[in-house]
Symmetry: C3
Subunit: 268 residues, 3 copies
C-alpha cells in the first residue's frame, strides 16, 4: 500500500470533515496536550477512564487509544474492559506501551492487555518495542529515544505475533506490518525535549485509523504528519515550548503543499 | 439586571484586587489550563479532591467549581461532600456537567449531585444542558458545539427546577435565570479547537460569582470575558495553540476599553 | 560553598550532558509543565505513582521529587514507599509540601512523610514552610506568595530538624542549610500568575541535586536558574502564558553569559 502525500492528504481531509470521536485512556501527563493535538488535526477527543462507562464510550467511538504512561490498578481494569468492548464492536485500538521495560509492573501489564485483545497498532520507542519481546534495552525515562533501527527485528516479531501494525518512533520512524514496512524520515531532534510527543503520535494514529481501514497506511500517515509538523515547527524555533505551540498550530493548518514538500518516506 | 461593559469592569477589578480563592474539583485534562486561566484573570485557584480535605477547603473559599469531565467513584464522593460543605457555608457553587448524555453514568452522576445540592450556576454546551432534562441530543465528544439556541427551552426548565442560573455555551452563549435571559455574541469558531475552554468558562464563572452576589450578572460577565478574550486572541492567530496562549495573556491584560469595544450582549 | 555563575554553569552543563533521570510523584496540575521544564533543562523526567512500581523506579533514578499538591490516600502510600526506596539507595529526595497549612490533612501528611524519611531538600513558599513548623500563616491558594523573609526562622528550624536544605520561594528566594544561607534575588512578579512554577522549582532542584552532591549549592543553583529564566522571559512579555512559554524555551537555551549577566545572589 503506497504512502504518498496524496494518500496522506485524503486521510487528513477525512479527519477534518468527519471529526471522528477518539476515546483515550491515557496518562495524566499528556491528557491536555494529546486532546489539543487531536482537536487541532480535526478529530474529537474524549478522555474517560471510569470502569462504569468505558465500555459504553469505547464501542461508540471511531478508535480507542490505550496509553499506560501513569498506571494504577483501577485504570488497568478499565483498559481491559474498554479494549474488549472496542474489539467486540470492531473499533480499532491503538496501544502505547509507555515505559515498558522500566519496571516489571509495566511490562506485565502491557503483555497482559495485549494477551486479551489484539490491537490494530502498537506504537512505542525502540526500548519499549524491544521490551515487549522481552529483549534487553537501556531504559532512560519515558521520553528517551534509542535508534529505532535497533528495534526493527522486535517490531517485525510483534507485528506477526499480534497480527498488527507496529510503529517505532525515533530519528527515523519505522512502520511495520506482517507484510509491509516503511520508514518515515521526518521530524526534528528538538521534539525529544517536549514531553509526550510520543503519546501524541499514538493519539494521531488513532485519528488516522478512525478514517482509514488500511491500518498500515493510516499509521504511516500519522507518523508522517507528526514528523512534518514537528520539523516545520522547529524552523526558526527558540526552544521546546515554541516548538510545541507551533506544532499544534501546524496540525491545524497543514496544507497539501506542506505535506508534498516535506514528506520523506521509504517503503520496502 | 444590566450587563454592560461597566458592570463587567467592576467585577473584573474586584477579582484582580481581591484574588478570590476558587476551589476546583475538576477533570485531569484541564487542571493546568483552568488554573492558569484563573490566575490570569486575577483569582487564586486551588485544586483538591481528597475526601479528607475537600469540606475544609470548600467552606473557606469564595466559590466551588465542580466539573465531572473525568469521573470516578471516589471523586464523586468528594464532590458530594464538597458541595454540601460549600452550600452550608453559603459558598456559591458552579456545576459543569461535562459529557452528560454521553453515558448513563455521567447523566446519573450529574443528576445525583444536583439532587443533593442546588448550584448557583450550571454551565454546559447545548447537548449537556439538554441531557440534564433527559432531552435527546447528539453527543460528539466533550468539546463539541451544538447550536446553543436549541437548548434554550431546556435551560429555562433547568433554571426553574434548580432555581439557578444556566449558561449554554455555543456560537452565542445563552445565560438564563428563572426571570432573566441574555445572549453573549462574542467568541470565535476556533475556540472549539482548544480543549477545555468550556471548562475554563466554568472556572471563570466561579471567579465572577465569588465577587458578585447577583449570579445571573456574574455568569454573563464571565461568559463575555471568555468570548472577548477569545475573539481578540483569534485575530492574526496561526492556530489553536496560539489562540490559547493569547487568550490567557488577554485574561491578564484586558482593559476596560477592550471590553467596551467588543462586548456584544442582548438581554430579554 | 560558593554560588557563582561559574558553579551554576558547571551543574547546568552536567545536566545537559548526563540527562539524569528524575522520578516525580507530583500533582495532576503540573505533571505536564514540570516534565517539560525538566526536559528543557536537559534532564529526563519519569512520572509514576503506582504502589507496584514506585520503589523499582525510585531506586534507579538520580533524584526523587515528591509533591503533595493533589493528594489522595493511595498516593500517600506510594510516596512513603518511594521515599524509603530512594533513601535506601542513596538517591536524593526533594520534598514540596504544596498547600501545607491549608488543611490539617496536608499538614499531617507532610509531617508523616518527613517523619519517615529525611529529604535532601524541602522547597515551599513562606506559608508552607511556616506551616511545617506549625507556625501560623495566612493561606491564600497554592500559588500565593508571602514574603519569604518571614519564613527565615522557620526555614532554619526545619533545616536543623531534618538536617536538610530548605528553600523558601518568594520575591527573594531563601536557601538555608544548617550551616549556610543564601538569597537569590532573581525572578519576576508575573511568575506568580503562572500555575505550578513553585512545583517547577522543586523539579529543577531535583535535576540539580542529581548532578551535584553538595545539595545547598545545587538547590541555590536551581532557584537561580528559575529566577533568571523567569526574569528574562518576563521582558517584553504580553502575559503569563507568554512568560511560561519563553521560560521553558530559556531553560533550554540559557547561556553562561545569560547567567553571568543576571545572577543576583547574596550569601551569609
Amino acid at each position: 500500500m503506497n504512502i504518498t502525500y496524496e494518500t496522506l492528504w485524503v486521510d487528513l481531509e477525512h479527519i477534518r470533515a468527519d471529526e471522528p470521536l477518539i476515546h483515550n485512556i491515557t496518562n495524566y501527563v499528556v491528557m491536555n496536550s494529546t486532546a489539543n493535538a487531536l482537536l487541532a488535526v480535526g478529530a474529537s477527543p474524549i478522555m474517560a477512564h471510569a470502569l462504569e462507562e468505558v465500555a459504553d464510550i469505547a464501542r461508540h467511538t471511531k478508535a480507542l487509544v490505550i496509553n499506560i504512561g501513569t498506571l494504577s490498578s483501577q485504570w488497568i481494569d478499565s483498559m481491559h474492559v474498554a479494549m474488549k468492548a472496542a474489539a467486540d464492536a470492531g473499533v480499532p485500538i491503538v496501544f502505547d506501551p509507555v515505559g515498558v521495560g522500566a519496571t516489571e509492573y509495566r511490562t506485565d501489564t502491557a503483555l497482559s492487555l495485549l494477551g486479551c485483545v489484539k490491537p490494530s497498532v502498537i506504537r512505542g520507542n525502540a526500548a519499549e518495542i524491544k521490551a515487549l519481546t522481552r529483549e534487553q534495552a537501556e531504559i532512560k525515562g519515558v521520553d528517551s529515544r534509542e535508534d529505532s533501527e535497533s528495534a526493527r527485528a522486535a517490531a517485525k516479531i510483534l507485528s506477526r505475533e499480534y497480527n498488527c501494525v507496529v510503529c517505532v518512533s525515533g530519528r527515523k520512524d519505522l512502520v511495520v506490518s506482517p507484510h509491509e514496512a516503511a520508514s518515515i524520515c521526518n521530524g526534528h531532534q528538538m521534539m525529544t525535549r517536549v514531553t509526550g510527543l510520543g503519546c501524541t503520535a499514538s493519539a494521531l494514529v488513532g485519528a488516522f485509523v478512525a478514517v482509514n481501514p488500511h491500518h498500515f497506511q493510516a499509521a504511516a500517515h500519522a507518523m508522517a504528519i507528526m514528523g512534518i509538523a514537528g520539523e516545520i515547527a522547529a524552523e526558526h524555533c527558540d526552544g521546546p515550548a515554541s516548538l510545541q505551540l507551533r506544532f499544534i498550530d501546524l496540525l491545524y493548518s497543514l496544507t497539501q503543499r506542506d505535506i508534498k514538500e516535506h514528506l520523506k518516506v521509504e517503503q520496502y
